[in-house]
C-alpha cells in the first residue's frame, strides 16, 4: 500500500517535470475560459436573463468555465495512456514492481496537477477582469483540492474510454463529444432550476455539476450548504472511475 502511494507520487512528480519543460499547453488552454469570461459573460449578464442569486453573471460562470477547461485537459489525458500503449512506456511500467492499479490511479492524479496549474493561470486573470472572490485562503485551498481530485476522476474515466478506442484519432473526437454535453448539461453556465426537467434529472448524475457547485460555493458565493453532498458525490465518482479504469487496463495492454 505504501509502495502504491509512493508510486502515485512519482507519477505526479513526473507530470510536474513534463509541465516544467513545456508550459505552452497551459497558456494556450487558458484562452478559451478567458473568452467566456470577457465576452460571453458580460454580454449574457447584461441581458439579465439568468437568475444567479444576486451574483454578477461573469462571476457566476467563472468556476464553470474554468472547470470545463480542467476537465477537458483531464479527458484528453486518457489519450496519453493510448499513446503510451503505442509506445513501450506502459509495457515497461507494468513490468516494474509497482502495483498495477497504482499506475492507473497515479497517472490519473497526475492530471490533477495539470488541472491545478491550469486553474492557477485562469484565476488571477479572472481577478484582474473584476471577478470578486471570497477572501478566504482556506476556501481557496479547498477549491484547488476539489479540482485536483475531480480531475483525477475524469482522467480515470478517459482511461476507461481509451481502453475501448484503438486509435488516437478516434479518441480525439470522443473527447469533445463527452466534455461538451457534460458542460452544457451542468450548472456551469446557468443554475439547475431553469433547466428543463429531463436535463435536470440528468444533471443529478453529472459529476461536473457537483464539482462546479462545490468550487462556486468556495470561491464565489461563500455558501457551503451543499459542500458535503458535493464532496461525497465527487469521492464516489473517483472511486468508481479508479476501479473501472484499473480493470480496463488489462484491455489496454492485451
Amino acid at each position: 500500500m505504501l509502495k502504491a502511494v509512493k508510486n502515485m507520487l512519482v507519477m505526479i512528480e513526473l507530470e510536474m517535470r513534463r509541465l516544467w519543460h513545456d508550459r505552452t499547453e497551459i497558456y494556450s488552454r487558458a484562452i478559451q475560459p478567458i473568452l467566456w469570461m470577457t465576452i460571453y459573460g458580460p454580454v449574457m449578464g447584461s441581458a439579465r436573463a439568468i437568475p444567479t442569486g444576486g451574483v454578477p453573471y461573469t462571476d457566476f460562470i467563472t468556476p464553470g468555465v474554468m472547470i470545463q477547461t480542467t476537465t477537458f485537459v483531464s479527458i484528453l489525458y486518457g489519450l496519453t495512456m493510448v499513446w503510451e500503449r503505442d509506445s513501450g512506456i506502459l509495457k515497461k511500467l507494468l513490468v516494474t514492481p509497482a502495483p498495477r492499479y497504482s499506475v492507473v490511479v497515479g497517472r490519473s492524479m497526475a492530471s490533477g496537477v495539470r488541472a491545478i496549474f491550469q486553474a492557477l493561470i485562469i484565476l488571477p486573470i479572472a481577478f484582474v477582469i473584476g471577478v470578486s472572490f471570497v477572501p478566504n485562503p482556506a476556501y481557496f485551498l479547498l477549491a484547488l483540492i476539489v479540482i485536483f481530485f475531480a480531475s483525477g476522476g475524469f482522467a480515470a474515466a478517459s482511461i476507461l474510454i481509451a481502453s475501448f478506442m484503438k486509435t488516437r484519432e478516434r479518441f480525439m473526437g470522443i473527447g469533445q463529444a463527452i466534455t461538451m454535453p457534460l458542460f452544457f448539461a451542468s450548472n456551469a453556465l446557468y443554475p439547475l432550476q431553469i433547466m428543463p426537467s429531463i436535463l435536470r434529472e440528468f444533471s443529478a448524475y453529472n459529476p461536473l455539476s457537483y464539482v462546479v457547485d462545490a468550487v462556486r460555493g468556495l470561491l464565489i458565493t461563500g455558501s457551503l450548504s451543499n459542500l458535503l453532498i458535493d464532496l461525497i458525490a465527487i469521492a464516489i465518482f473517483d472511486i468508481i472511475m479508479f476501479i473501472l479504469a484499473s480493470v480496463s487496463l488489462r484491455r489496454i495492454i492485451e
Binding site: 509502495k3 513501450g88 512506456i89 509495457k91 492485451e254
Partner: protein, 332 residues
C-alpha cells in the same frame, strides 16, 4: 549452473483463433546471453511478454529463476528488467529525469539513487547529454537510455525485445559492447529477441530459433551451423589429372567428412575450415599439386533457419520488416 528461464509446453492463442505460441519448451541458463531468433510474427514478442508477466499464457508453464510467471508475477517483476521493442522513455523530460523517475518507481533507496543513476549514465555513455530533453537524442542514444533504465536495479535477468532495431551498425555495436560489459560485471542473464541473424551470431552465447510459434532449433551459433553438416572448402588445382592416392589420403583425415572432384575443383566437407586448411594444403603441396584458388563456404544462420523452419528467413521477414521499421521511424 542456475536455470534462469524454464518453459514447459507454453501456448498462447489470441482471441481463440490466432495461435502465437504452439507448445514452446525452453531452458535458458543463468549468466548467459540468449537469443530468440525468428522472423516477425514468429511469436518472439508474445513469449517475452508472457515471461515478463504482462500477459497470461493459454496453457503451459513458465518460470523465471524458479518463480511462476502467472502465480508469482510480483516476485518475478522484482528480479527482471525489460526493454520493449517500442520506444519506452518519456521524450519531454531529460535523460537524467527518466532515470530518476524509474529509480523512484523501483524504490531504490534515496542515498544510492544518485550513484546508481550516474553509473548507468556512465556505462551507457550518456553522461554528456544527461540534462538534454530526450526528444533531441538520436535513435541509438534513446536505446542506450532505455538500457540504462533497465540496468538501474541490477536485475538478475534482462529481457530485451529487438534491442537494436532501427539502429545503424556503429550504434548497434556500441549498445552491445556496453551490454557485454554489464553482463560480465554483474553476471546478468540477457534474454533478447532478434530477427537480425548476425546479431544472434555475434552476441549470443546460445540461440533458439523460433518459427510459427515453435522452437525449431536450439544450440550455439557454431553448433547450429555444424549441425548442417560442416563447412565446405574448394581447391582449384592446376595439375591434371588429380591423383587418386591424394584423394584417398585426404579422405583418411578424421575431420574430412566427404570429398568430391569436379573438373579442376576438389571440394571437401570438413568440421572446421580454418583448422583443416593448413593440413590439407600440406598434403597437396607434398604431392606437388599447385593450388590456384581456395574458397571456403560456411553455412549461415540463414541456412540453419532454412533447414529447421523449412523456409528462407528473408522471404517471410522482408515486407513486414520494412513496414515495421517504417513505423518505428515514424514514432521515433
Amino acid at each position: 549452473m542456475d536455470i534462469a528461464v524454464q518453459i514447459n509446453g507454453l501456448t498462447k492463442v489470441y482471441n481463440g483463433k490466432v495461435k502465437a505460441l504452439d507448445g514452446v519448451n525452453l531452458t535458458v541458463e543463468a549468466g548467459e546471453s540468449f537469443a530468440l531468433l525468428g522472423p516477425n510474427g514468429a511469436g518472439k514478442t508474445t513469449l517475452m511478454r508472457i515471461l515478463t508477466t504482462q500477459i497470461k499464457p493459454t496453457s503451459g508453464e513458465a518460470y523465471v529463476f524458479g518463480l511462476n510467471v502467472v502465480h508469482e508475477g510480483s516476485k518475478v517483476r522484482e528480479l527482471i528488467s525489460y526493454v520493449p521493442q517500442e520506444m519506452s522513455v518519456w521524450t519531454d523530460i531529460s535523460g537524467y529525469e527518466n532515470l530518476l523517475v524509474y529509480a523512484k518507481i523501483f524504490d531504490i533507496p534515496h542515498h544510492e539513487r544518485e550513484k546508481l543513476i550516474y553509473e548507468a549514465l556512465e556505462n551507457m555513455g550518456l553522461i554528456n547529454v544527461k540534462d538534454d530533453l530526450v526528444r533531441t537524442y538520436s535513435g541509438g542514444m534513446i536505446r542506450r537510455l532505455e538500457i540504462a533504465c533497465a540496468m538501474l536495479i541490477k536485475p538478475r535477468i534482462m529481457f530485451l525485445d529487438e534491442p537494436t532495431i532501427g539502429l545503424d551498425p556503429a550504434a548497434r555495436k556500441a549498445v552491445w559492447e556496453r551490454l557485454n560489459v554489464f553482463k560480465r560485471e554483474y553476471g546478468v542473464t540477457i534474454f533478447f529477441n532478434t530477427h537480425y541473424m548476425d546479431e544472434a551470431d555475434l552476441y549470443a552465447d546460445d540461440i533458439a530459433i523460433i518459427s510459427q510459434g515453435k522452437i525449431v532449433a536450439r544450440g550455439t551459433s557454431e553448433g547450429l551451423k555444424h549441425s548442417l553438416g560442416g563447412e565446405l572448402i574448394t581447391f582449384t588445382v592446376e595439375n591434371l589429372p588429380i591423383n587418386a592416392e591424394v584423394l584417398g589420403e585426404i579422405r583418411k583425415l578424421h575431420f574430412v567428412k566427404d570429398i568430391s572432384v569436379n573438373d579442376t575443383n576438389i571440394s571437401m566437407l570438413v568440421y572446421n575450415a580454418e583448422d583443416s586448411l593448413s593440413y590439407i594444403m600440406d598434403i597437396l603441396r607434398n604431392e606437388k599439386m599447385s593450388v590456384n584458388k581456395v574458397s571456403i563456404s560456411k553455412p549461415t544462420l540463414d541456412d540453419v533457419f532454412l533447414k529447421y523452419a523449412g523456409m528462407r528467413f528473408e522471404e517471410k521477414g522482408r515486407i513486414s520488416d520494412v513496414v515495421h521499421t517504417r513505423r518505428m521511424i515514424k514514432k521515433g
